[in-house]
Assembly symmetry: C2
């Protein structure tokens, strides 16, 4: 098993990034998009980007090691700033550390019940757009949602606009148009978010990236979550209030599953 | 050497806390205050708090293992939510993991040059008041300060008020009064911050915890940083502009060193 030394800056400071890739029958879905996001995240953090071949080899190794080549699985690739001395400063030349793990990832069979988190998402932190290892706010938001009868958190940014869910992006239908929070609202730059945006016109839907208040969800015809593992998942309630269903969700789920 | 498995939630999600304790000649300074903060942080994160004896034993072991019993050293105690499955949710009964490391910690001999960070501190996230493992914003703020000719970052909150430095609390003298950002401005609940607040009246200084704009620093008579390792460190410039020195800094440094 791979091990992490206690001076790894991913462990000590959350100084690193991760990707969670869906594997189906040994195929790593949207791998290019994941590696492109990892590369741009490395640039944002000031870390050297990994070689794509090395990253892919590690992920495949993790999949085989966990005997999940024939399963629906989540392969997680973690890249950290590597070992470092005490304190915030990286070594002059950081040597990133990369590890991969794999786990079964059955598709969720139930729709989601969202609860608005009390912790706002800091849309002006680069960590909002990136999958950094600093995910403790999301962990707490999810816990809070579960304590309040939900199964996922709706995260608003510091201006009170919708950002995303704790572990997913958010979309909804408004006046016949598909809407999702703009990236500068603090939305994670999700790979499935990008796929849905790209697929929408082909499904006969216009798409808008917007700054929106949570009240928009009460008016919406359909609200759904997306991420690499769940694909598209319908949201049936927000803070205990039922939301309106829509056939668009099923249609987009079919597109996203391609 | 202690090792961390790659499924540790501190590593994967920043789901944990740390304390950095100053050791001088084998004595762990302000240990009670550090362990009290760790305990309250655990409560905030929903994790069981460690036994004080176990935490202290680990720290002493790290100090001896690094042969630093007779040195000025930093002992870092890291507590994570332990190993967990994929995703944000903790196991039903998390088993925290605790590790300690020690490193030499010479006292800084130069005053600090602060540069204002472009990343705001999220004063409404519990992570702002706690030493969680999600420190990537601070890492980036420090890097930015260094790229701009400074050696430490001034972090403002989302309202534009002074919160703290990337790895220290901030104090200044204003109209004969000692001022420091209030905790609800996003200041870390620093052990040395608390010690300075407690020591100020004995040094003949009144103390005020406040929400303040960075302009206050330009007017201030003395600006200084505090943390467990540096004690008190004078700030000589902010964004390249010189700040006014004051004998109060030396006086408080002497008090804090006790």
């Amino acid at each position: 098993m791979m091990i992490i030394p206690p001076d790894d800056r991913g462990f000590t400071l959350g100084d690193g990034l991760f990707e969670t890739v869906l594997a189906e029958g040994g195929r790593l879905r949207r791998l290019k998009a994941h590696l492109a996001r990892l590369t741009s995240g490395c640039a944002r953090l000031g870390l050297p980007a990994p070689a794509a071949e090395e990253a892919e080899a590690l992920m495949r190794e993790a999949l085989v090691g966990a005997r999940l080549e024939n399963a629906r699985a989540a392969v997680r690739l973690t890249l950290t700033a590597g070992s470092g001395g005490r304190g915030l400063d990286r070594p002059a030349v950081p040597t990133p550390r990369m590890v991969a793990t794999a786990a079964p990832a059955p598709r969720p069979t139930t729709p989601a019940r969202l609860v608005t988190a009390s912790i706002p998402r800091n849309e002006r932190s680069p960590a909002s757009g990136l999958k950094t290892l600093a995910y403790v706010d999301n962990v707490l938001a999810r816990r809070e949602a579960q304590a309040n009868g939900g199964d996922e958190a709706l995260m608003l940014n510091t201006r009170g606009e919708i950002a995303c869910a704790a572990a997913a992006n958010l979309f909804w239908m408004e006046d016949g148009e598909l809407v999702t929070p703009a990236l500068d609202c603090g939305a994670l730059a999700g790979t499935m978010r990008a796929a849905v945006i790209a697929a929408a016109p082909g499904a006969g839907l216009s798409i808008r990236e917007a700054a929106a208040r949570p009240e928009a969800l009460a008016r919406a015809e359909a609200v759904f979550l997306t991420n690499a593992l769940i694909g598209v998942r319908e949201v049936v309630s927000l803070d205990g209030r039922e939301l309106r269903a829509s056939p668009s969700v099923a249609r987009l789920a079919a597109v996203a599953a391609q």
